[in-house]
């Protein structure tokens, strides 16, 4: 059978029926199974093989986040997409490496995007070596600079990151955010998504870079899509040029 094998889990029976029908109508999906709670889901996960788990966050017995953490023990865990009425739980969801986070009731277009992410994730896993390097998260939880809580930001929308003391100042399509993390950590975590350290104080998403211009003193300037110019340290210019040509 072609198409994704999906297990949808929700303690709200009507919401479960709704997502089941949506999933079954998608050409990306070949099979849909359902579970009314975390325990039933665990039994089904132990008995069958699924590509994706659509999971409510708050459920009695076993909460969705707890279930997602348990999946780490599986040899070949399904990709997790949270589907919930709790928009506030999104930050926790991405801490357990969820592929996507959907708020009920979800549109078909948004659901299709999530299924597309699962397909891409499955393809990457199928082609990956036995011991793959840790992959970058698709979405990261960042702090609002005003202190007004967290915001979920797709990694691909981040253009560059500046070091700012103990914090990283992150420039994304949706605005500027902060994160308490050293650039070295972000470089390690996000490197596989195209981020490179070009300067002691700057980490850039090379997918957003449009031009590398050499400077007379041996340094360079990297122009970004949004018009920002990022200084490139002398010692990284050659490696960066090679990487951009590759």
């Amino acid at each position: 059978m072609s198409g994704l094998r999906v297990l949808a889990v929700d303690d709200e029976p009507r919401a479960l029926i709704d997502v089941q029908r949506l999933l079954e109508s998608s050409p990306r999906v070949g099979y849909v199974d359902t579970a009314g709670g975390g325990r039933e889901a665990l039994v089904k996960l132990g008995q069958g093989s699924y590509d994706a788990l659509f999971l409510d966050v708050r459920m009695p017995e076993i909460e969705g986040l707890e279930l997602a953490r348990l999946l780490r023990r599986f040899d070949d865990p399904p990709g997790v997409v949270f589907l919930t009425g709790h928009a506030d739980a999104a930050v926790e969801a991405f801490e357990v490496q969820a592929l996507d986070f959907l708020v009920k009731p979800v549109t078909r277009e948004r659901l299709d995007a999530a299924l597309g992410r699962i397909e891409a994730w499955r393809s990457r896993r199928a082609g990956a070596p036995a011991a793959p390097a840790p992959s970058a998260p698709e979405v990261v939880a960042l702090d609002n600079p005003t202190g007004a809580g967290k915001r979920l930001v797709r990694l691909e929308t981040i253009s560059y990151v500046d070091a700012d003391g103990d914090y990283a100042r992150i420039h994304a399509a949706d605005g500027d955010f902060v994160l308490r993390a050293p650039l070295s950590q972000l470089e390690e975590d996000w490197g596989s998504a195209g981020f490179a350290r070009v300067h002691r104080a700057h980490l850039v998403n090379l997918n957003h870079a449009i031009e590398l211009r050499s400077q007379p003193n041996g340094t360079a300037v990297l122009s970004m899509r949004d018009g920002t110019e990022i200084p490139v340290a002398r010692r990284t210019v050659a490696a960066l040029r090679r990487r951009l040509k590759a």
Binding site: E12, R14, A15, V19, G37, G85, H86
Partner: protein
């Protein structure tokens, strides 16, 4: 278990609207569209009533009968989300003293207790609301044999308190 719920005063404005609740009611309504379109429409209409009550321009005190009707709407929406899981027994409006209360004075504490119950325990539950001295007594009993949760809702006349 027994608890005392303080009714919000009229000066507090309307109680906050839970996006979680609204989203899940909408998901439930969506699920009824194919197999019971009339019910889907009813759920949407009741959600409209629920939101209109909370979002109306005049957020002053309301008649207790209005607040009781709002609570009944809320409970029907919960029953639409969880069919067969919640039974309710509310008093007739005329059984209550003709006071004016803050919006959410009854629905707010009941929503909190019922929401917690649904989150934390599986299975059906029965919600009973009875008139009591100075307000209402709420009992939330489950089929799991655990002791029923009891809640007292004080319903002081807001118009007197603020006069």
């Amino acid at each position: 278990m027994s608890a005392q719920a303080q009714a919000p005063t009229a000066g507090n404005g309307a109680p906050p609207i839970s996006a979680h609740f609204v989203n899940n009611v909408l998901a439930a309504a969506a699920s009824y569209i194919d197999d019971d379109p009339d019910l889907a429409r009813d759920v949407l209409a009741e959600l409209g009533q629920f939101l209109s009550y909370l979002l109306r321009d005049d957020r002053g005190a309301v008649a207790v009968s209005q607040e009781l009707a709002h609570t009944a709407t809320y409970l029907r929406l919960q029953q639409a989300r969880f069919p067969g899981r919640i039974t309710t027994d509310l008093p007739a409006p005329e059984a209550l003293a003709a006071t004016r209360v803050a919006p959410g004075a009854i629905q707010g504490p009941i929503a909190e207790a019922l929401g917690r119950r649904l989150r934390e325990r599986a299975g059906a539950c029965a919600l009973t609301v009875r008139p009591a001295q100075g307000g209402l007594e709420v009992e939330l009993a489950g089929e799991d044999g655990a002791p029923a949760e009891r809640l007292a809702i004080a319903l002081g006349d807001v118009s007197e308190a603020t006069a």
